[in-house]
Amino acid sequence: MKKEIPLAITFLTGVIIVVTFFIPHQPLGGMQQRLLIWYSIVLGFTLLLGVDSLLRSNLQKIMRRAPGWPYAVVVVAGFLATLAAGIHTWATTKDLLSLGSSFMYIYTYMIVPLQATMFALLAFFIASAAYRAFRARTLEATLLLVTAAIVMLGRVPVGAEIWDKLPGLQDWIMEIPQMAAKRGIFIGVALGTIAMSLRVILGLERTYLS
C-alpha cells in the first residue's frame, strides 16, 4: 500500500502523458488535459505545506518562552494581520490584487521592501567576495576572472567610453563561447532529465517516496 500504490500512480500518469503527446486525439487528449488540470490543482496545495510547520514551531517557541520568543510573536502577528487583511479584501472585493486594499498595502510597504532589500544585500556580499576570494591562481581562474571583467565592463555604458570595442567583445563572448558551453551543459542536463524521468516512471528511481 505504502509503496505499490504511489509507484502505480506515477507509472500510469507518466505513461498517459507520454502516450498522449504522440496521440493527442480524443479520448486520450481529454485525459491528458484532465491530468494537467489535476496537477495544477494539487501543486497549489504544496504551497501550504510549509505554513503548518512554521506556525507550529513559532507557537511552541512562544509557549515555552524559548530564547528569541519575541521574534516568534512577530512571525505569528505578521501572519495573522496579513491573513486578516487578505480575508477582508477577498470578502469585500474578490480581488487580491486590488491596489487600494489593505492587503496590497501590506504587500507594497512590507513584502516588497523586505524581499527586495534582502536580495540587495547580496550586492555587498558579492563585492566583499570579489575583493577577498576572486584570485587568478590558475589558468582556469584567470580565464573566469578576465571574462567576468570584460562582461562587467562591456555590458554597461561606461565600457564603451573606456574602449569602443568592449561592448562588441562582450556580445561576442555571450553569443559564441559562452553560448556554446551553456548549450553543452543544457544538452547534458536534458539527457540526464530524460534518463531520470524514465527511471521515475518505470519505478527504478524511488527517492521521492522516502
Binding site: V75, T82, E140, P177, A181, G188, M196
Partner: protein, 207 residues
C-alpha cells in the same frame, strides 16, 4: 497620508535589513521574522484565490468552467489528492501524501521526457548543425562538443578525450565568468533599486 506612512514603514524596514551589514541586530531580526510571517499568509491566501477557489470551488459548486455534472464531480479526485498532500501535517497518516506526490512526479516526469527532447535536444542539436565556414561557427561547434566531452564521465580521460575535456573546461570557465559578470550586474541592480527608493520615494532627494 496612508501613502506617506507606508513609505516610512517601507523605508524603516529597508534600513532594518541593511543594518545587518553592520552586524546582526534586533532590528534586522524583527524585519526578517516579519517577512517570514507575512509571506506565509500570502501563500495561504494565494492558494485560495488562485487555486482552490477558481479551480475547485467555483466549478464544483457554481458550475463555472465545468461543462457537465461529471466534470464537476470528477474534481473530487484532485481535491482528494490535494488533501492527501496535506496529510504530512499528521505524522500517523503522513505516508498518504506519497500518493499526491506520486501524481505530480509522474505527470512532471512524463512532461519532462517529451519536453526535453522536443524543447532542448532537437532544437539545440539543430542549432549546432551549422556549416563550418566561419571561425565563429567552428568555435561554437568545438565549444558544444568539448563541453559535452568534459561532462562525459564514464569514459577514461586520456588521449583525445583528455584534450577535448581540457578544451571543454576552458569554454566552461568562460561561460561561468560571463554568468558571474551578469550576476554581479543583477545584484547591483537590486541595490540600485533599493537606494533609488530611499533617495526618491522616501527622502525626495531626486526628482
Amino acid at each position: 497620508m496612508m501613502h506617506i506612512i507606508g513609505t516610512w514603514i517601507a523605508a524603516g524596514l529597508t534600513l532594518a535589513i541593511f543594518s545587518f551589514l553592520y552586524k546582526d541586530n534586533p532590528f534586522y531580526k524583527f524585519a526578517e521574522h516579519l517577512y517570514v510571517g507575512v509571506s506565509a499568509a500570502f501563500a495561504i491566501l494565494y492558494t485560495w484565490a488562485f487555486d482552490v477557489w477558481p479551480m475547485l470551488v467555483e466549478p464544483m459548486f457554481y458550475g463555472r468552467g465545468a461543462a457537465s455534472a461529471a466534470d464537476r464531480w470528477i474534481l473530487l479526485v484532485p481535491m482528494l489528492f490535494g488533501l492527501l498532500m496535506l496529510s504530512r501535517w499528521f505524522p500517523k497518516i503522513g505516508w498518504l501524501s506519497r500518493w499526491a506526490i506520486a501524481l505530480t512526479v509522474g505527470i512532471a516526469a512524463g512532461l519532462g521526457i517529451t519536453g526535453q527532447i522536443q524543447g532542448i535536444l532537437l532544437p539545440q542539436v539543430a542549432g549546432t548543425l551549422v556549416p563550418l565556414t566561419s571561425l565563429d561557427n567552428v568555435l561554437m561547434v568545438v565549444g558544444v562538443i568539448s563541453t559535452l566531452v568534459y561532462f562525459y564521465f564514464s569514459i577514461a580521460q586520456k588521449g583525445a578525450v583528455k584534450v577535448g575535456s581540457r578544451l571543454g573546461m576552458i569554454f566552461i570557465m568562460v561561460a561561468f565568468g560571463a554568468s558571474f559578470g551578469y550576476t554581479v550586474m543583477a545584484r547591483i541592480s537590486l541595490l540600485i533599486g533599493r537606494l533609488y527608493f530611499l533617495a526618491y520615494d522616501w527622502l525626495h532627494l531626486v526628482r
